[in-house]
Amino acid sequence: MIGSFLRVVTVLAAFAVVLSATMLYRVKTETREMKAEIRALEREGDTIRNRIDALETEWAYLNSPGYLSDLVRIHADTLRLEERVPDNFARLSEVPPRGALALGVE
């Protein structure tokens, strides 16, 4: 009686081992694939981040006040930009109406 029971248990256990091994293999393969995917994504993220950093740095350089004021000085004839000084402030009522300057009206 015990012998037949043990035989059944052994067969079931063997079956369970095979099943577990198969599942384990599948899980392991999936894990490996996912790891590779994560690594690829991280590499891509790293590359993108490096590009963003480079662009931000370039943008910061091109927008630095020193660089901009140099450009304004070089292109003064075209841009006709001036530094903001206390005399530049005016009341809204002091601003000439739109088109008045073009018509020569003070």
């Binding site: 392991k28 991280e42 950093d53 740095t57 943008w59 020193g66 009341r91």
Partner: protein
């Protein structure tokens, strides 16, 4: 009758049982033993299987592993970026490549074609092609640098040429897009990307330490104000043929440094090597005059002398002082430049910047109280500047013995050496309704400031000092800095420079100007210093601070106040900042 089939084929009939001797029943490999072996084997197998499965299921190490290495390359924690108070980038870390060639390896593989060499030259414009061609033809060297700092794009293009023997090593570089403008604020890093000076060193742990979050760090600096101050100081340095200049702009309520400039400066992207001797250090561009310098700053100290007299009750603004003739203290004669030669009040002492009258005030206060008040004002040791390492802060050089003659000279800013930061912080505290100000290079949220005031003088004394500063800017030596509409207050300071051998060099001066605006409700304090300025305008005037540092401060103010959104009062009823106005309307 014999049955056709055995009714119980698996049952052993009693008569079939053969009784064996006991010795034969006990076999060497019994049924029970086999069972045990099988059970143990399965147990071990299942345990191993279970352990492995749970290890895979839990997989605790996986995220760490992923974070540690990407593509087999060890990832180093990147230093956090530095931003100015408005979010403009001041420092960032870029991935770069060191590209090199092994000429012998290239030669062994058949050499490099002229076309490939030409393309390399196009990718790396600074590459010395003649030298490289020589090494590649001769194979005389094992190693040759193609580029020490190449971008990812440059390395990708070079790699795609497929030249045998060309390799690259990844590295990270700290880049400062604003360059010289923020030199002394950011400081710089060494070859291992560890901060060596300025904020990079003072806040190294927060920027790149093991506990750093990697998030950008926002500083108190306003890049626009910093640039304007540097440009103005640079122009003044040329105009007055000064070998050096320094300046700062501080927010009075929070102690935030909006700008800090020391000239000559350097490019933090290519930081010079630190000089070894003390004399060289003081002349080096990496020396920060604002924090590391210790200078006799002259008559600006009269404001501190007045504050202690008012606060201690030793005098009031109308107390009469004898300034009729020069006085002798400790073997020296103390006199006034363009003295009035009469009795004057404390108010007039500040207005006319009388040294003799300042000595009289110091006599009323007394050396002991004077020393105590200096310590209270932060002029006793080092002024902590948040963000800057302690080693970059100078200690105030006080008289060794604080007798009556020392007390006399200290009252008008001689015989005492401090950094511009010392004096600016003390004045900011006096102006801040008498509440102590701690200077910082980190952006401060005003709601995080302590509600309680760490008072160094009363509100009343603060108001009187601000009134005196306004008087100087309106009617005395500070007129050149009095930009209409901003309610500027100020004080000039002219001091002879101390000779290395001792005594004063009467040909060399150190001129300073402290500006505060608007004096009725102070928002900003500016401090300007010029090292040995000369007046080259053909006049025979002496290069006093009123003719050099004050107009420099005026030029800077004219540029900086509008940048900070401040509208001049003469054009409008009240001086209000545009930002404030928008907030109120919003």
């Amino acid at each position: 009758m014999k049955p056709l089939f055995d009714p119980a084929p698996f049952e052993q009939r009693a008569d079939d049982i053969e009784i064996e001797p006991i010795a034969r029943v006990r076999k060497p490999y019994s049924h029970r033993l086999r069972m045990r072996i099988a059970a143990t084997t399965f147990l071990v197998a299942f345990a191993a299987l279970g352990w492995r499965m749970s290890a895979i299921a839990l997989d605790h190490d996986a995220p760490k592993e992923a974070a540690r290495s990407v593509g087999g390359v060890e990832q180093v924690k990147r230093r956090a970026s530095l931003l100015d108070r408005n979010g403009r980038l001041l420092a960032s870390t870029l991935q770069t490549w060191e590209v090199f060639v092994h000429p012998r390896e290239s030669l062994g593989a058949g050499g490099v074609s002229p076309d490939d060499l030409e393309r390399l030259g196009e990718i790396f414009p600074r590459l010395d092609l003649i030298k490289l061609r020589g090494h590649l033809n001769d194979g005389d060297r094992k190693f040759f640098w193609i580029a020490r700092k190449a971008s990812s794009d440059q390395w990708r293009r070079a790699r795609d040429l497929g030249i045998i023997g060309v390799y690259a090593k990844q590295r990270e570089d700290r880049v400062y897009p604003a360059g010289r403008v923020v030199a002394h604020i950011v400081g710089g890093v060494d070859v291992d990307n560890i901060g060596v000076a300025g904020v990079e060193s003072g806040l190294n742990d927060r920027i790149g330490g093991p506990d750093s979050s990697g998030k950008p760090l926002r500083l108190s600096v306003d890049l626009r104000v910093q640039t304007a101050l540097r440009n103005t100081l640079s122009a003044a340095k040329s105009e007055f043929a000064a070998p050096g200049a320094a300046g700062l702009v501080m927010k009075v309520r929070t102690g935030e440094m909006l700008a800090m400039v020391s000239l000559p400066d350097f490019d933090p992207n290519n930081r010079p090597v630190a000089p070894k001797t003390f004399d060289e250090q003081a002349r080096s561009p990496i020396f920060n005059k604002v924090t590391q310098g210790a200078f006799e700053l002259g008559s600006i100290f009269k404001l501190l002398t007045t504050a202690m007299a008012l606060e201690s009750g030793a005098a009031n603004l109308e107390t009469p002082l004898d300034a009729t003739r020069p006085i002798r203290r400790g073997g020296f004669t103390i006199s006034d430049y363009l003295g009035k030669g009469r009795w004057m009040s404390v108010r007039e002492m500040v207005k006319f910047s009388s040294n003799i009258a300042a000595v009289r005030v110091a006599e009323l206060v007394g050396p002991e109280r004077q020393k105590t008040y200096f310590e209270k004002f932060g002029i006793g040791g080092k002024v902590p500047l948040v963000g800057v390492p302690n080693g970059e802060l100078s200690r105030a050089q006080l008289p060794r013995q604080w007798g009556s003659s020392e007390s006399a000279t200290v009252s008008y800013g001689h015989g005492i050496s401090v950094s511009p930061l010392h004096l600016a912080t003390a004045l900011a505290s006096l102006a801040n309704d008498g509440c102590k100000v701690t200077p910082t290079l980190l952006k401060v949220d005003e709601s995080d400031l302590p509600a309680e005031c760490d008072r160094i003088v009363s509100s009343d004394t603060s108001e009187k000092i601000r009134g005196l500063m306004r008087l100087v800017a309106e009617k005395s030596s500070g007129r050149n800095a009095n930009i209409p509409g901003y309610e500027i207050g100020g004080k000039t300071g002219t001091a002879y420079q101390v000779k290395p051998s001792g005594g004063y060099n009467t040909d060399k001066r150190f001129n300073s100007f402290a500006a505060l605006w608007p004096t009725s409700d102070p928002e900003y304090l500016m401090f300007i210093s010029l090292d040995d300025p000369k007046l080259l305008d053909g006049t025979r005037r002496l290069p006093l601070a009123g003719h050099t540092a004050a107009p420099t401060a005026g030029s800077a103010l004219e540029r900086i106040a509008p940048l900070l959104g401040m509208v001049p009062r003469d054009r409008f009823r009240e001086t209000v900042s545009v930002e404030k106005q928008q907030d109120d309307e919003g």
